[in-house]
């Protein structure tokens, strides 16, 4: 039965060869958001759902499905087992997923167990205080942290060892203090953290830049620094980088998509092409921007290289911070 099926597939592939670029586009495109509805992964999937529709690069309507569990671990596991060769589905991931891979939270699976397709865009870490905070610039905050790492209460939307914690820990590291001495409060997401900041329950929020757009204009909070090498476009152009204030602390939160390890080259390339075409469309880029992401266009090989390097970097960092026990 099987050889016959293979032969049939081959034959079909041969016949369709001349029109490969059309025929290879996923027939039943699906984006899996490995979380409950409403979060960042949902948003990541919506970007290609609406973006590719408006850019007219994808004709079949894309379905968005949810697969919550283990901050992406359930989906990663499933796309390494039952759906590892699914040609139609992509799964959303973020830097947080890469950090989880680096720290071994996805169990036996590593960064080599998926085919990384493309990015959706990126966001950058931001150091945020309330408008009436005594810290007027990053230096003021860093001096206080240097004098006594436990003098400032830092809060954010993730647990110890998460991306949000990493941002805070990197700040502390930049003044050669011990991240373990930091007073860090883990909230359930950015909304609760902002509430705690506005209510004066925490002093500093290590959040993401894009979510600040709404609050910048209202003047209730101040962004002391953006954790990126260069300044970002308006409305964020007035915010200094950490680097220009003398602290080289960078943190990008990339968002993107992967598919199962055993997906065929044909299916993988079709998706890569689809992204390449979409990236050229203004309509698609507008959707990315509207959803609060900054442009970052990586596809195919470039994307895979980025992920490999990033996970390696995160692994070193996490070991440094004592998040991974070194096996002797």
């Amino acid at each position: 039965m099987k050889p016959l099926f293979l032969a049939a597939t081959l034959a079909a592939a041969l016949f369709t060869l001349p029109t490969l670029s059309v025929a290879a586009t996923p027939e039943k495109p699906e984006c899996v958001a490995p979380a409950k509805p409403g979060g960042g992964f949902d948003l990541t999937c919506r970007i290609i759902q609406t973006g590719m529709l408006e850019a007219k690069t994808l004709e079949a309507p894309m379905q968005v499905t949810f697969m919550p569990g283990g901050i992406g671990a359930v989906a990663y596991n499933l796309f390494n087992t039952t759906r590892t060769d699914d040609p139609n589905a992509v799964v959303a991931f973020s830097s947080g997923s890469l950090l989880n891979i680096a720290t071994g939270k996805y169990g036996e699976w590593t960064e080599k167990d998926a085919r990384w397709i493309a990015t959706a865009g990126t966001d950058y870490g931001a150091v945020i205080v309330k408008a009436d905070s005594p810290y007027k610039d990053l230096k003021g905050l860093m001096d206080a942290l240097k004098a006594d790492p436990s003098s400032v209460i830092v809060g954010a939307g993730g647990s110890v060892g998460s991306q949000d914690w990493m941002k805070a820990a990197l700040l502390i590291k930049a003044v050669d203090a011990d991240p373990k001495k930091m007073r860090y409060v883990a909230f359930d997401g950015g909304g609760e953290s902002i509430a705690a900041l506005l209510g004066g329950n925490i002093g500093v929020y290590t959040g993401d830049l894009a979510e600040m757009a709404a609050h910048l204009e209202a003047g209730t909070m101040r962004v002391l620094a953006v954790m990126h090498s260069d300044r970002l476009p308006a409305p964020f152009d007035k915010i200094p980088t950490a680097k220009e204030q003398g602290y080289d602390v960078q943190w990008a939160i990339i968002r993107g998509y992967y598919m199962g390890k055993k997906a065929s080259d044909e299916a993988y390339n079709a998706w890569v092409e689809l992204f390449k075409k979409s990236f050229e469309s203004d309509a698609f880029n507008k959707v990315v921007k509207d959803k609060g992401l900054f442009e970052l266009k990586l596809t195919g090989k470039e994307m895979e290289d980025y992920v490999m390097q990033d996970v390696a970097k995160l692994r070193t960092l996490a070991t440094d911070m004592g998040l991974i026990e070194v096996k002797k």
Partner: protein, 503 residues
């Protein structure tokens, strides 16, 4: 005041446009159905319909009006399966089963449905009015509420829960402990350490609340039914044409008022929503009822009115931080916020100034929606009550299948379906042993909130426990908690003294 009136005027001009009016009604109706189906609650209803509303190309205010209609429609609808089937339609309707289901079992489904419909209306209306008048002030209060204050709120909630004591205090406590144990499964929110996951990625995020509710209630109810079918003790309920009377409403007027206020305040606080609101108000009312509170849990109309007023009031309360600060007060408002972003509207402090037609249009649509829901729901009472005339051996399996589809469509992981079955067996055994299941659910909800906030408070203070007793809010809540426990005792003491002196 002028600002509010002119804003409302502008809002009604938007909400009363025929198309928007149609969307309010459609949203409310759909929401009622979504809420009534066990498994699909307001969060998932709104999440599923959001992309549809977007792709239909509605203007933002219309889409938001539709989604908000679904939100509070679902809060109304959640009570229906609670009362009729003893299976909560959504998380906020768990407490509604306690008195709603016994009423239906003794042939008063119509009365229970209509009474809870009115209670929902009262809760919804009070919260919308409070929101219109005091939103900015309340928002300022909500953000000031610190993790230590949440701890105090949870202490208050736990002590109200102690009022739930059914036949045996020990069993209620044990049930709550089972809930707390379930709550501790999964990645620890504070340190990221795995707890009780047995290395399975399916357990990393903990057991979904929906899975627990459907398992412990829905599945356990089915097993109970199978058992009574096998024994031949299954009764067909008579067609009931009961309806709420003015006397009923008069009897619960203060209950509804108090519960609405309580529910609204709990709703305003980010992180606590309908399930906490209904639990706290139920417990408080039972305590306040004193001796006569013994009938709570056996089909007391007060025990039905309290949670239904509270959970609808909390839905309105959750809108306050969303509209004024851009901070979601509940899971559902988080998705509504996402909807705003989708339409390229930045929610937050400036929403009322920059897009008044959206902010006020939404508020006006809530007034209309609330009235519409009452009008939609009351005539349907007879129809819904008639559902019970379907022989139970057909009805309950059907509902269970729907619940399974609901769980799978939302979570999409077959593991959760096994979990539902496992929890169903647990629920059935607990029922056999005469445990009440509501404390289990509350243990799960309150346990998570209590632990997260306690640890937040302690990480803020660097491990110093005195942080729990530093704010006025905390002290006020501890005071309330004490009062809830002490009042019935004091009242009993005076009553006995009076009786003694009368002799």
């Amino acid at each position: 005041m002028d600002v509010i009136l002119s804003g409302l005027g502008q809002g009604f001009a938007v909400a009363l446009q025929p198309f928007n009016l149609f969307l309010v009604l459609a949203g409310c109706f759909l929401g009622t159905l979504i809420g009534a189906l066990p498994g699909i609650g307001p969060i998932n209803g709104v999440a599923i319909l959001l992309p549809i509303a977007y792709s239909l190309g509605f203007p933002p205010e219309s889409a938001l009006i539709l989604l908000a209609g679904i939100y509070y429609g679902a809060e109304y609808g959640g009570r229906i399966s609670s009362i009729l089937l003893n299976v909560p339609g959504d998380a906020g309707a768990v407490m509604t089963t306690l008195d709603g289901s016994p009423m239906a079992k003794r042939g008063e489904a119509g009365r229970a449905l209509s009474l809870s419909g009115v209670a929902s209306f009262v809760g919804g209306s009070i919260s919308i009015i409070l929101m219109t008048l005091f939103a900015p002030m309340l928002a300022a209060f909500a953000v000031k509420f610190s993790p230590a204050d949440y701890v105090a709120l949870m202490v208050f909630a736990f002590l109200s829960l102690a009022a739930l004591v059914g036949k045996s205090a020990v069993k209620t406590l044990l049930a709550a402990v089972i809930g707390l144990m379930i709550a501790s499964i999964g990645v620890d929110a504070n340190t990221g350490v795995m707890r009780f996951t047995l290395g399975s990625p399916d357990l990393m995020a903990g057991i979904d609340f929906l899975v627990i509710v459907i398992g412990l209630f829905g599945m356990a109810e089915l097993l109970h039914l199978v058992e009574s079918y096998a024994r031949g003790t299954l009764k067909t309920l008579p067609v009931d044409k009961t309806f709420v009377s003015w006397a009923d409403l008069f009897a619960v007027k203060w209950v509804m008022l108090r519960s609405s206020l309580l529910g609204f305040i709990v709703g305003v606080l980010p992180g606590t929503g309908a399930s906490v609101a209904s639990a706290v108000s139920y417990g408080t009312e039972k305590r306040l009822a004193g001796e006569s509170g013994k009938s709570f849990g056996t089909g007391d109309i007060r025990g039905l009115a309290a949670p239904e007023s509270a959970n609808n009031a909390s839905a309105g309360g959750a809108m306050v931080p969303m509209l004024t600060l851009g901070i979601p007060g509940s899971g559902t408002t988080a998705i509504l916020l996402g909807a705003l972003l989708l339409f390229n509207i930045t929610p937050g402090p400036l929403l009322f100034e920059q897009k008044p037609e959206i902010a006020w249009g939404l508020i006006a649509s809530m007034y209309i929606g609330n009235i519409a829901l009452l009008i939609i729901n009351l005539p349907l009472v007879g129809l819904f009550a008639r559902l019970l005339t379907i022989p139970q051996q057909y009805l309950t399996p059907l509902i269970t299948v729907l619940a399974f589809i609901g769980v799978y469509s939302v979570v999409g992981n077959p593991f959760d379906l096994y979990m539902v079955i496992g929890l169903g067996v647990l629920g059935w055994i607990l029922r056999k042993l005469e445990f009440s299941l509501a404390p289990v659910i509350l243990g799960v909800v309150l346990g998570n909130l209590f632990e997260d906030n306690l640890r937040r408070a302690l990480s803020m203070s660097g491990g110093d426990w005195s942080i729990l007793f530093q704010s006025v809010n905390s002290w006020a809540l501890y005071g309330l908690a004490f009062a809830v426990v002490a009042l019935p005792l004091v009242m009993r003491y005076f009553k006995r003294k009076r009786q003694a002196s009368a002799v």
